[in-house]
């Protein structure tokens, strides 16, 4: 048990001493998760809202598909992205495999169904009502769009944070497409996995504490915000 206690002590030492390598890993993790979340949110939140507002053929099939894709194993996503980006494949000429961009692509594909399905569900349950009120009160298309975004801003923020939380805690796909290269594609989750294999528990625990802290803060924020929204 000593090594766990020592791990905690060493962890705090690393955090306080502003260890360069540790913080590089932290910032890269936050950076790639932020970029993938931003890309997916900007593209798929409007699409999800738009799809939820109208009735269309194949609606049930679409809903079933995106909900099913929410449970897709991350290693499968990683494998597909790695295959597509590998040297001899379609996008091999871009030389993106084992780069932070590859991690962003994998995370983006991973959180896409989450973002789309949550936004679509929200749109169906609430945006339709808001759109109707906007129409009834004489709002033009632009007025109604702003009204929907304003009315649902809290719920949409929760969706964005949920996607970020999913992206930053991801390990399987990131390990496959990033390769956990020191100083290049090493993020918190892949580092923890590697450090555990190496028996370097102190640094592993340090990263674990930080990752736990970030996810705890995010989930706590979501929980408090959800209560506020429900009230």
């Amino acid at each position: 048990m000593d090594y766990i206690l020592n791990g905690f002590i060493r962890a705090f030492q690393l955090i306080i001493s502003l260890n360069k390598e540790l913080y590089e890993v932290i910032f890269l993790s936050i950076g790639v998760a932020l970029i993938s979340t931003t890309i997916i949110s900007v593209i798929f939140i409007p699409i999800g809202l738009k799809l939820g507002l109208r009735k269309f053929k194949g609606e049930v099939f679409f809903a079933r598909t995106i909900f099913s894709l929410m449970g897709i194993p991350s290693v499968v996503v990683g494998l597909v992205v790695a295959l597509v980006l590998s040297r001899n494949s379609v996008f091999g000429f871009l030389q993106l495999l084992y780069t932070p961009t590859a991690i962003i692509i994998a995370q983006s594909f991973l959180i896409l169904p989450l973002c789309l399905s949550l936004t679509y569900t929200l749109s169906r349950s609430k945006a339709r009502k808001i759109n109707r009120v906007g129409k009834i009160l004489g709002g033009k298309r632009k007025d109604r769009l702003f009204l929907i975004l304003f009315e649902l801003k809290d719920e949409l923020l929760i969706i964005v944070i949920t996607c970020f939380s999913r992206a930053i805690t991801e390990v399987g796909a990131v390990m496959i497409v990033g390769g956990n290269l020191k100083g290049s594609t090493r993020v918190m989750t892949t580092s923890i996995s590697m450090l555990n294999s190496m028996g370097d528990y102190s640094t592993g625990i340090a990263l674990g504490i930080i990752l736990l802290g970030i996810t705890f803060l995010i989930n706590n924020f979501i929980y408090v915000h959800k209560i506020e929204v429900n009230n």
Partner: protein, 209 residues
């Protein structure tokens, strides 16, 4: 001067079941019309069509109102986020009306809503919600006002207040269409009564391969 609303051969179906089948119907401009009928007769559906929210139907609906001049109050109105003031102010804001503050003060005064103006809309009682929704619908002075079961959550005093408001509003030449089961309502406010009969929900012919 607006023309009468004329409905010619209006048909509407949901899931291959007819919910509306009106060969001919006219709503007089500047008049008060009551739509009555049993549940499922298509009263609310007709209001949606007249409000130009539902455009998927067969037949003709001829009127001279533009979207901006029509207002509809749902049976269960949705309140926007924020307080009562923000809700009533919204239609005026999107129309970029001048002197909104003055108009709002007058509206809140006329409808006795001064005490509620800072109350969160989500915390209103069902009766208060209905009242605020009616005021919100009237705030921009629509030429055609439609109300779906407006008295379902109102007490006797509020009902009489509403009748008084609608009477004054109608005297200005505006058209009112009300869906209601409340006999007391249309006994106090004279208008034309239109009974919608429930469609025989015929299933259209199916072709089996």
């Amino acid at each position: 001067m607006k023309k009468d609303i004329k409905i010619i051969d209006l048909k509407k179906a949901f899931n291959r079941k007819d919910v509306l089948n009106i060969p001919e119907l006219t709503f007089k401009n500047g008049g008060i019309s009551y739509l009555v009928g049993e549940n499922g007769a298509g009263k609310s559906t007709l209001l949606n069509i007249l409000a130009k929210i539902d455009k998927e139907y067969q037949g003709k609906v001829e009127d001279s109102f533009i979207d901006n001049e029509i207002s509809l109050v749902d049976a269960n109105p949705y309140m926007l986020k924020g307080n009562v003031y923000k809700n009533i102010e919204y239609p005026l804001k999107i129309r970029k009306r001048e002197n909104i503050d003055e108009s709002m003060t007058a509206l809140l005064d006329i409808f006795n809503l001064k005490t509620l103006k800072n109350k969160e809309a989500s915390k209103l009682s069902s009766g208060e919600t209905q009242k605020v929704a009616i005021v919100r619908a009237l705030s921009f002075s629509p030429k055609l006002l439609m109300l779906d079961e407006p008295t379902s959550n109102l007490d006797k005093t509020a009902k009489l207040e509403l009748i008084d408001i609608l009477e004054k509003y109608n005297q200005k030449g505006n058209t009112i269409i009300v869906v209601t089961h409340d006999h007391g309502f249309f006994e106090n406010l004279k208008g034309e009564k239109i009974v919608l009969e429930k469609c025989k929900n015929r299933i259209k012919e199916e072709f089996k391969i």
